[in-house]
């Protein structure tokens, strides 16, 4: 190395003993600090707040519309649980969750947040700033995914809680008659609805892993968001085709609505269990893709 012969400039130096190399302290507080910062970013971004706002309005709007038209609506072909709605308001939450999942509002919200996670930072150029801090690539990815999971849960709970409130205001509130004909208390019924919300959040969190992987492959968040939505629609269409029945249960959206079992007595967990297994597998596969891509990528944005 041609370092010889270069004179060293002598200057007064600060005492760097104050700035010792970081000790291997407990990494959890620092992780939580970055996680907190990430949550503020996700929940403070105007666009995301608009999405959550729309999700909050849907149950109000749907609740009122269904209250006014319930006598003529329903029957075969409508959303499941619509026929139970007249009997008990808690079922409004299931109707709304069904619609927001299949009409892509919830998937869209998670696609936006997850597709933006890395690509958005790359597009703004803030990714290079974070990585030179250094935030650590694996650590940043973990924080990003944790925030996506929290956002998924928040979106589902928001829709569900507002639906429950609207349902209980607009429709009959009282003990809940399950699909199996058994009657449980209102509290138990609400708990089962909240379990559906968590199950839906798990579905979205696994979709978020796909979005996160897509997000590491581009500098354009819109591209990653579109990829997730196209994949969701394609999966839902494939799920309807009888010709593809052999692979149906491997599709990422196949178990999205398989929560009927939660409204039987005794509870039939098989749909939920298969769904959760499928979500975990998808999250692991796409999480690994995101990790492999981000930790090896040249950051030129």
């Amino acid at each position: 190395m041609s370092t010889d012969g270069l004179p060293t400039v002598v200057r007064p130096r600060l005492d760097w003993r104050d700035e010792r190399l970081p000790a291997r302290a407990n990494p959890v507080p620092a992780w939580l600090r970055l996680f907190n910062s990430e949550l503020r970013l996700v929940f403070g971004r105007p666009r995301n707040l608009v999405l959550l706002g729309v999700l909050a309005i849907v149950p109000v709007f749907l609740g009122i519309v269904l209250r006014l038209t319930l006598d003529t609506a329903g029957g075969p072909g409508g959303p499941p649980f619509l026929n139970q709605l007249a009997g008990n308001g808690v079922f409004l939450a299931l109707v709304v969750l069904f619609l927001t999942l299949t009409v892509l509002l919830l998937p869209l919200s998670v696609a936006v947040v997850s597709g933006d996670a890395i690509a958005g930072e790359a597009g703004l150029g803030t990714l290079r700033g974070l990585l030179t801090v250094p935030s650590g690539r694996t650590r940043l990815l973990a924080v990003k995914y944790a925030a996506i999971v929290v956002f998924s849960l928040a979106a589902c709970l928001l829709v569900t809680v507002i639906s429950l409130i609207m349902g209980l205001i607009l429709f009959h509130a009282g003990s809940v008659t399950l699909l199996s004909g058994t009657t449980v208390s209102l509290g138990a019924g609400v708990l089962r609805v909240l379990a559906v919300a968590v199950f839906a959040a798990a579905a979205l969190a696994s979709l978020g892993a796909i979005g996160l992987a897509a997000s590491t492959l581009t500098q354009h968040p819109v591209g990653a968001i579109a990829a997730v939505l196209v994949l969701t629609v394609a999966s839902e269409i494939c799920d309807q085709l009888p010709e593809l029945s052999a692979i149906r249960s491997y599709l990422p959206t196949h178990y999205w609505l398989s929560w009927d079992g939660l409204f039987r007595s005794p509870v039939d967990w098989s749909g939920v269990e298969h769904g959760l297994l499928s979500y975990v597998v998808y999250a692991v596969i796409f999480g690994a893709i995101a990790w492999a891509k981000l930790t090896s990528a040249d950051i030129t944005a």
């Binding site: 190395m1 041609s2 370092t3 270069l6 004179p7 060293t8 400039v9 002598v10 200057r11 007064p12 130096r13 600060l14 760097w16 104050d18 700035e19 190399l21 970081p22 990494p27 507080p29 620092a30 992780w31 600090r33 970055l34 907190n36 910062s37 970013l41 403070g44 971004r45 105007p46 703004l124 150029g125 803030t126 290079r128 700033g129 974070l130 990585l131 030179t132 801090v133 250094p134 935030s135 650590g136 650590r139 940043l140 090896s296 040249d298 950051i299 030129t300």
Partner: protein, 311 residues
């Protein structure tokens, strides 16, 4: 490691992009501790790619480098918190204030002390003169303010080295002066400053050392004074042939008889008074004797190629 004589070294550092383009070609950097190292070269000469490699953003194709005496990228987590950086212009979240943007970066630093964050962020904003605009959204900042916020990120905590990539890009002369003053201040604390620019004039006043890039190669590296040091000799005389003989006896290099009655040579270590005396003693009528100093700009242009040569 504070005693390391070089804050930054590299050996054969090379980057060939996937398309086959050789962006950085076997460069051996040696940045003395405490220096202000101007990393110069035209746009497209590989400066930013080099900086990205130094900071672990992109992986070198070959070669190695060490920062603060620590091998990179293995020691990234220990070395980089002590290195402040601004890569390829400022980049922040437009909807957040300057203060919130700095808080975000500080939160990402696992070695930063949360309890002092507020005070450190305000101190950094104060140093770059942005404290009054701390709560303004980033998108409302002027270009100069954006650039200064970028520099503020490197001041969030005491650093041993600060790497600034084109900190004066797009600034007006006043903004450029402000940035230079900041660099002087940072360096006065003993912090090594590595600053890149495609304009020599913007940084030559603050640099102690320079490295000059051309088409991916490091074509010059050393103290700035050495680059500036090459002075010439010009003798005006009616007897140029005789002058040439005297000068060659004196051992001067690069002797040339120019058009008319002028002889030029490189001054080297010689003193002009001595040369004049010898010429007169040898019977050369000296009509004029000058020691024109080549400007730094000329040296720079010679090293980097003429004009808009970006290869």
């Amino acid at each position: 490691m504070a005693g390391a004589s070089f804050a930054l070294t590299s050996s054969g550092l090379t980057k060939r992009f996937r398309g086959g383009q050789l962006a950085v070609d076997r460069i051996d950097l040696a940045v003395p501790s405490g220096s202000v190292y101007g990393f110069l070269g035209p746009n497209g000469s590989g400066k930013t790619t080099t900086i990205r490699m130094l900071l672990g953003l992109i992986q070198p194709t070959a070669g190695s480098h060490a920062m603060l005496g620590l091998p990179m990228p293995e020691s990234q987590t220990t070395a980089l918190p002590l290195v402040g950086s601004l890569v390829e212009g400022p980049a922040f979240y437009p909807h957040l204030s300057g203060r919130a943007n700095l808080a975000r970066l500080d939160a990402a630093d696992r070695t930063a002390d949360r309890s002092t964050a507020r005070a450190r962020i305000d101190a950094a904003l104060d140093r770059v003169g942005l404290l009054a605009a701390a709560d303004k959204r980033y998108k409302a900042y002027s270009l100069g303010m954006k650039q200064r916020l970028g520099i503020a990120t490197s001041l969030l905590r005491p650093r041993q080295m600060v790497i600034l990539d084109e900190p004066t890009k797009g600034l007006d002369p006043q903004g450029t002066r402000e940035v230079r003053a900041l660099i002087r201040e940072i360096a006065a604390d003993g912090t090594t400053v590595f600053v890149s620019s495609h304009l020599l004039a913007e940084v030559e006043q603050v640099c102690t050392h320079v490295g000059v890039m051309r088409a991916g190669r490091l074509v010059y590296q050393g103290p700035l004074a050495q680059l500036r040091g090459k002075a010439g000799l010009l003798v005006r005389t009616p007897k140029p042939e005789l002058a040439v003989r005297v000068l060659s006896e004196l051992g001067l290099a690069g002797i040339q008889q120019a058009a008319g009655q002028e002889v030029t040579a490189e001054l080297g270590e010689m003193v002009p008074e001595v040369i004049c005396e010898r010429l007169v003693l040898a019977g050369v009528p000296v009509a004029g004797l000058e020691t024109p100093r080549r400007s730094l700009e000329d040296e720079f242009v010679e090293l980097t190629g003429e004009g808009f040569d970006v290869d």
